[in-house]
């Protein structure tokens, strides 16, 4: 059998590996379309023939759920939000109300994902607000259209610091984590998964996402597997 999977772009590395394992084990085929969660959710709403949807954003999962096509759904993964730096010498940063982020940037920009639209940006903004740092820094935030672009800006040194998920930072050797935002500083970061068809392959893939093998892969990529 075959499955069509729509998944948030930031899951590509991990999910590709999980899917390869599943294909090897079952002899099935997985077609995975990676794009922004919003684009995928709209396509599903418009009738895309999809078996599995993994969103980086509970909000978009809600809009898909409203279509009534969702057969099963649960939160699959969680993630941490981290502050990353380009300069390998950059010292660890202690997040607190008194942090002078602006001085840290030395005139550069703080890279984030779109703070009103893309989940990573929304979480990041919430976290900075939590520490009362947002208002002081918002003019110096460069917002990219997704987390990967944020990561790239820091990796290239176009921005000295950036806020991404832990899973992104893990994979990019040109950046390193200088601080991890505490979980209570922002709404919980959740990757909900949904099954939209009842085919055997869809059931099988959906189950494989929760398998120990998958958990190993996700963990290795910096995600936290939710039990």
């Amino acid at each position: 059998g075959e499955v069509t999977v729509f998944a948030a772009a930031s899951m590509k590395t991990a999910l590709d590996e999980v899917a390869r394992g599943w294909e090897a084990q079952t002899g099935n085929l997985a077609h995975i379309s990676y794009a922004g969660s919003g684009a995928l959710a709209r396509q599903i709403t418009a009738g895309a023939p999809v078996d599995i949807f993994i969103s980086a954003n509970p909000g978009w999962m809600e809009s898909v759920t409203k279509t009534g096509k969702v057969k099963a759904r649960e939160d699959l993964l969680a993630n941490h939000l981290v502050l990353i730096a380009h300069d390998p010498e950059a010292a660890p940063v202690t997040l607190s109300e008194g942090l002078d982020l602006k001085a840290l940037l030395k005139g550069g920009k703080l890279a984030m994902a779109l703070v009103d639209a893309v989940p990573a940006g929304q979480y990041g903004k919430a976290a900075l607000e939590h520490f009362g740092l947002w208002d002081g820094i918002k003019g110096d935030v460069a917002q990219a259209d997704n987390v990967r672009a944020t990561l790239m800006m820091v990796a290239l040194g176009a921005a000295p610091y950036g806020i991404t998920y832990d899973s992104d930072a893990v994979a990019e050797p040109r950046v390193h984590v200088v601080a991890t935002f505490p979980d209570d500083s922002h709404p919980p970061i959740r990757y909900p998964a949904a099954r939209l068809s009842d085919s055997d392959a869809a059931r099988s893939f959906y189950a494989a996402l929760r398998s120990p093998e998958a958990a190993r892969v996700f963990t290795a990529q910096g995600f936290q597997v939710l039990k």
Binding site: A9, K12, H31, S33, A35, R42, A46, A48, R148
Partner: protein, 232 residues
């Protein structure tokens, strides 16, 4: 080609198919619309002109979104087309539609400029020789604008090869079905450390489009020289 992984190879073939179909299908209406815009005097001229340019003006995502609204299986046009057995959403034909729509204004612009450059006195001469408007177009205007048509088609082809936003929004990014080269490049860029393989795809993309460009260029030059044959 051993240095291309099967999915990469798939993306290359798919891109050529998509851009080729998009260009081929856009050409006849492109010529027609260009002619209307260049020579037509009618109410709604400005409207048509605006409509044609829309995909240029709008962010590609919006165009893709509008296509999705219209042509998705449960969109109004999509449902109608489904009834006659044509499915566009989430397959390569849909990708071609997106690429074609995005490339259309470029094609029309080029052809229209070529038509406007045709000396109307030649068309007048043809009409006195008995050619009706349609014949004048087919036997005089059309041959004279072949270089413009080639230019328009190749610009459209290049654009179609590079189209990203509307495509991913409309037909998603399904390997082997809708994952064209730009989408594959995008996907690679989503993977930390994927720049290397993205770069490979970029090189392929450039090579293909430039190859097409140079071939068409040479062709157009040859035809133009044949047409002009003008002395100093």
């Amino acid at each position: 080609m051993s240095w291309l992984s099967p999915p990469e190879w798939q993306a290359v073939v798919l891109s050529l198919k998509v851009a080729g179909l998009a260009t081929a299908c856009a050409l006849p209406p492109g010529i027609g619309v260009a002619y209307l815009l260049a020579r037509g005097r009618f109410v709604g001229h400005g409207l048509l002109n605006g409509l044609v340019h829309l995909p240029l003006i709008l962010p590609p995502v919006v165009t893709g979104y509008l296509l999705l609204l219209g042509f998705a299986p449960n969109g109004p046009l999509g449902a109608a087309l489904a009834r006659i057995g044509i499915a566009l959403a989430f397959n390569w034909k849909g990708a071609a539609l997106a690429a074609g729509v995005m490339a259309f204004p470029l094609m029309v612009r080029a052809i229209r400029l070529a038509i406007e450059a045709v000396d109307p006195r030649l068309e007048a001469a043809a009409s006195t020789l008995g050619a009706s408007r349609v014949w004048v177009f087919a036997t005089v205007t059309l041959p004279l604008i072949v270089p413009g048509i080639i230019a328009g088609a190749i610009t459209a082809f290049a654009k179609a090869m590079g189209e990203f936003g509307a495509t991913i929004t409309f037909v998603s990014n399904i390997p082997g079905q809708t994952q064209t080269l730009p989408l594959a490049i995008y996907s690679q860029l989503q993977v930390p450390g994927g720049e290397g393989s993205a770069a490979k795809l970029v090189v392929i993309s450039i090579t293909l489009a430039l190859g097409a460009l140079l071939v068409s260029e040479a062709l157009a030059k040859r035809i133009a020289a044949r047409i002009a044959g003008r002395d100093a």
